[in-house]
Symmetry: C2
Subunit: 296 residues, 2 copies
């Protein structure tokens, strides 16, 4: 039975073909052929870098345009090393992984604001929305702003809970999330959480280090034994790291021609494996591609 | 910082409240209050039981109504112990986990059909479809048939690639999937695969043993070193197991009143945590609830 590898090799052959200087025919070819000007660089002050043991690194882009006050708190926490020696405390299958915030004895650093406003949505105006022309189950308008997914209804906009999106854990009252406790989506988008929590970022790299953690056996996927918690060694903003250690990432601008073609080909696959193109994409499968680039 | 646990406890309190004999107000209360007649038992000949090392068990419901010939092959493979001592060979983040089919030297058992028809969709008539009244990005009509999600367009119906759905790996040609190589979805529904592959089942239990496996570092998430592959000890149909070992499961019938209320409350959460109900559900977040029950 070589089928698995035949399937794999067929796709790899498509990726490695050198003949797409003309017109890319697969989503990955589009990414490879995109012009430098179609990529935009993430601000290092908006890259949150989580280091776990054994050189496992997770990089998150902070979404200041959606939850600026929560992001401001998270920057202060990172700059003060508040998340260092914290833990992943919860992994619930097909839902979320959650970290930080588990230690009652650790006071928040100076400058942290309490009672933040409920930044669960914002005015739609002011975002540079590239609309997707496909139906969404939850909102009449969906699209992309910079590297983030956006849903819009009645003049309000928010970043939906797609796979890899990061939000702020809170208590029952909406003003109780400080940013010291964060979670990321590890399953099919739980869009019921949209507009009920502050969404503050998107995981760009290393998510597999969180998604492959053992699921917790307690209620809601919390680890029942403190020994099961996964240590987070250090959390910093890329801007505060020594240049040599600092990761750098770019996103494919949703307003670019290459992004438009990428979405079109995601909806209308022409790779040899596909027989019947779907004719559509789901917003959460159309987040702008990102890539790691050398610092400088 | 007690927030994580406060959040957890609030939800648990809702679950454990004894006062919902009147009208359930949360999805979990609806499940707890559903009448016995609203549950249906899976046929033991349609439960595929995968045992991994260390007592990890995964149970899959086979979808004979969607891909009968592929399911017939899978039953023959299970009855002949063909999957025993096979491996999980691929784990691609936010996409699929894949097993079986990796050993060129293992001949398929007698009775296995080659060149199966492309059971990628079927006539919509003949399914007992409970429609969902919410938009879908890919199909004009979506709903549930027994324990399975269904999408429908122009008289054809198929089981979409929701989280936990199981499909048959194949080569580029549509007639090349035997059922000896299977995969399950471990991310946001990759609906572009719909109608391009035979969907043969849904994981009912133990999926966390597959979803939490380390992601493969090769192309498409294949493990690069054979030592990384995860052994599958034994695969059997529940019907062929000794009664004492045999798992049994039920699904909440989509045509029941309780299912209708469950979907309504999933779309319109009234739990204290939620401030603004979504007003909708996505098909892949509305798969009929299942539960493990004693054999007998």
């Amino acid at each position: 039975m070589r089928k698995s590898f035949r399937w794999a090799l067929a796709a790899v052959a498509l990726l490695s073909t050198a003949s797409f200087a003309a017109t890319p025919t697969t989503p990955n070819e589009v990414i490879a052929a995109a012009r430098a000007s179609e990529w935009a660089r993430f601000d290092p002050a908006s890259l949150l870098v989580l280091d776990l043991a054994a050189s496992r690194r997770v990089v998150i882009a902070l979404a200041s345009d959606f939850a600026p006050e929560h992001v401001a708190n998270i920057r202060i926490l990172a700059r003060n090393g508040w998340f260092d020696r914290s833990f992943v405390v919860r992994v619930q299958d097909n839902y979320v992984v959650q970290w930080g915030g588990a230690d009652d004895k650790k006071p928040l650093p100076p400058g942290i604001k309490a009672g933040l406003p409920a930044e669960y949505d914002r005015p739609a105006s002011g975002l540079q929305l590239t609309k997707l022309q496909h139906r969404d189950s939850f909102a009449p308008v969906v699209g992309l702003h910079d590297a983030f997914p956006v849903a819009e209804a009645a003049g309000r906009a928010w970043a939906p809970h797609c796979y890899g999106m990061v939000g702020v854990g809170r208590d029952l009252s909406p003003d109780t999330g400080s940013g010291a406790e964060l979670y990321a989506v590890i399953g099919h988008a739980p869009r019921a959480l949209d507009r009920n929590i502050a969404v503050v970022g998107r995981v760009l790299a290393g998510f597999e280090h969180l998604t492959s953690l053992p699921r917790g056996e307690g209620n809601l996927g919390f680890y029942t034994d403190p020994k099961q918690r996964v240590p987070i060694t250090r959390v910093r903003l890329a801007a505060d790291m020594p240049p040599a250690e600092r990761p750098a990432f770019e996103w494919l601008r949703p307003e670019s021609d290459s992004f438009a073609l990428w979405v079109h080909l995601r909806a209308n696959r022409r790779d040899s494996f596909f027989i019947r193109p779907a004719g559509a994409v789901d917003l959460c499968n159309a987040l702008p591609p990102v890539r790691s680039v050398p610092q400088g």
